[in-house]
Amino acid sequence: MAQAAVISQQPGSGPDAQSAAVALEGVKITFDLPDGGTYQAVDATDLAVRGDEFVAIVGPTGCGKSTLLNAAAGLLKPASGTVAIFGEPLSGLNRQAGYLFQQDSLMPWKTALENVAIGLEVAGVSGKEARDRAREWLGKVGLGAFGDRYPHMLSGGQRKRVGLAQVLIRDPKIIFMDEPFGPLDAQTRLIMGDLLLGLWSADRKAVMFVTHDLEEAISLADRVVIMSAGPSARIIGDYPIAIPRPRDISEIKLDPRFLAAHREIWHALKEEVLKGYRQSNGGA
């Protein structure tokens, strides 16, 4: 367990479940295995995210970050525990949320433009307006000239950015992002991070942001949550990031608060990864 230092708190900190945009309480997630057994991915986990809070989730690979987001999105039913969205227990899909998935999930039969526009069209915006706004959004993510391409004609990073535009254009109250900037180069990451922070600052929403890039997590988030290695992953650290906003994420790395947070979280994480590495080879 991470030692709560100056800037860190005990797990389960944050807003109380009542006022939270997303509140997981005692959420436990198990998968059935083909051999008849089960695999407990996530053990009783409490996590609450305020409606205007940006929470980054980090953790060793395979620990259960995507699984947790899936549960919050209503795509997975927890084996026990409850998920509440704005105080309402979630049953079925989380209709208030936008979700940028970790794996490719653009509709391959729609062009980049259509893929972005569809979120608006579904909500009843007229085709023309939806396409205009989608074009604008493609521009924001640096793909203005690629609107006519089908997904298989785009590079990995381009597809990811189309996905980003697809989610953000709908302006959902809750945003789940699973390694959104993974296949982007460092420079583009900064640009996209700026874009995201800009939007978020202008009109605050709840964001749950999974990343492997600790610097990214710290520079973007209000809180960084660390998960332990699976199986039975739990939240083992919850670190508020006290760097004031607005932040200049390309310069933030020089801030001493950044460095302190980074050092501490990195240490906690490293331990956890090595533990996970041993575990997933042996037990499970």
């Binding site: 979700y99 998935f101 794996q103 391959p108 569809i118």
Partner: protein, 262 residues
């Protein structure tokens, strides 16, 4: 591979078949040519008969009726198969309950059904259409059903998170995703629609290609039977070509197959 070369090869195949056929019916290589002619006619006679039909104009009327029946069977069968296929795929309960009945219905011999259709639908084109529909429907149905089940889970999850309701999912996800399944089944069912119409006519009618073929068969007019079958076949090829056109239009978004050379 150039288009011309392809065409040449295709024609070559046809020529080879016709030559073998000619040898069968004109030489003693494969048995007594007289007997062979009795069963297979000769390419020249069949060709002559087709020309005669086309020039004399008799064939157009019959062909028109058969095509109309087949077209109706194809449209009704496919639309029905698509709608019910989607419905079953999206309503696991409905599917589970009716599953055995659908399978059972698919196993009924159509020839036996023909009199029942004649009873219900009279002797006009509709009883033949019904026969064609019973063939087309099941092929399309099973493929559409499977096509819907095969939708990529991550694309589906994404679409649902984008807020699509059931109807929108159908239009934007299930339908496009099932398209290649649907076209695969359409290629089969174009043929079966024709078969259904012809068999229906064959079993009782006063017009159509099946009627022509049946009349010819009763009087040992093999030339007529073969000529009828050729005309039929030619039509199916034209229709199938149209289906392929539409298919290529609708499936532009697919990745081209990777370099085939090894």
């Amino acid at each position: 591979m150039k288009r011309a070369k392809l065409l040449l090869l295709q024609v070559l195949v046809a020529v080879v078949v016709i030559v073998i056929w000619h040898l069968i019916s004109a030489t003693t290589l494969f048995g007594d040519p007289k007997t062979m002619r009795f069963f297979f006619s000769t390419p020249i006679d069949v060709g002559g008969r087709i020309v005669q039909w086309v020039i004399g104009g008799t064939v157009w009327y019959h062909l028109g009726i058969t095509l109309l029946e087949a077209a109706l069977a194809f449209v009704i069968g496919s639309v029905g198969g698509i709608l019910i296929g989607f419905w079953f795929a999206r309503r696991p309960m409905v599917n589970a309950v009716f599953d055995p009945y659908v399978k059972a219905a698919n196993a009924l011999p159509r020839v036996v059904l023909a009199p029942i259709f004649a009873l219900w639908l009279g002797l006009g084109i509709w009883s033949k259409v019904a026969l064609g529909v019973t063939l087309v429907f099941f092929i399309v149905f099973f493929n559409v059903y499977q096509g819907v089940k095969e939708v990529s889970p991550s694309v589906l999850a994404n679409a649902r998170m984008l807020g699509m309701n059931e109807r929108q999912l159908l239009r934007h996800v299930y339908l496009p995703s099932a398209l290649s399944w649907m076209f695969s089944s359409l290629h089969t069912s174009v043929g079966f629609a024709m078969v259904g119409a012809v068999v229906g006519e064959y079993l009782g009618s006063s017009a159509g290609l099946g009627y022509l073929i049946q009349q010819a068969e009763g009087v040992f007019d093999v030339t007529g039977v073969f000529a009828g079958m050729f005309v039929l076949t030619a039509c199916v090829l034209v229709i199938d070509w149209l289906v392929t056109k539409v298919e290529n239009r609708l499936l532009v978004w697919r990745p081209q197959p990777a370099m085939a050379s090894n």
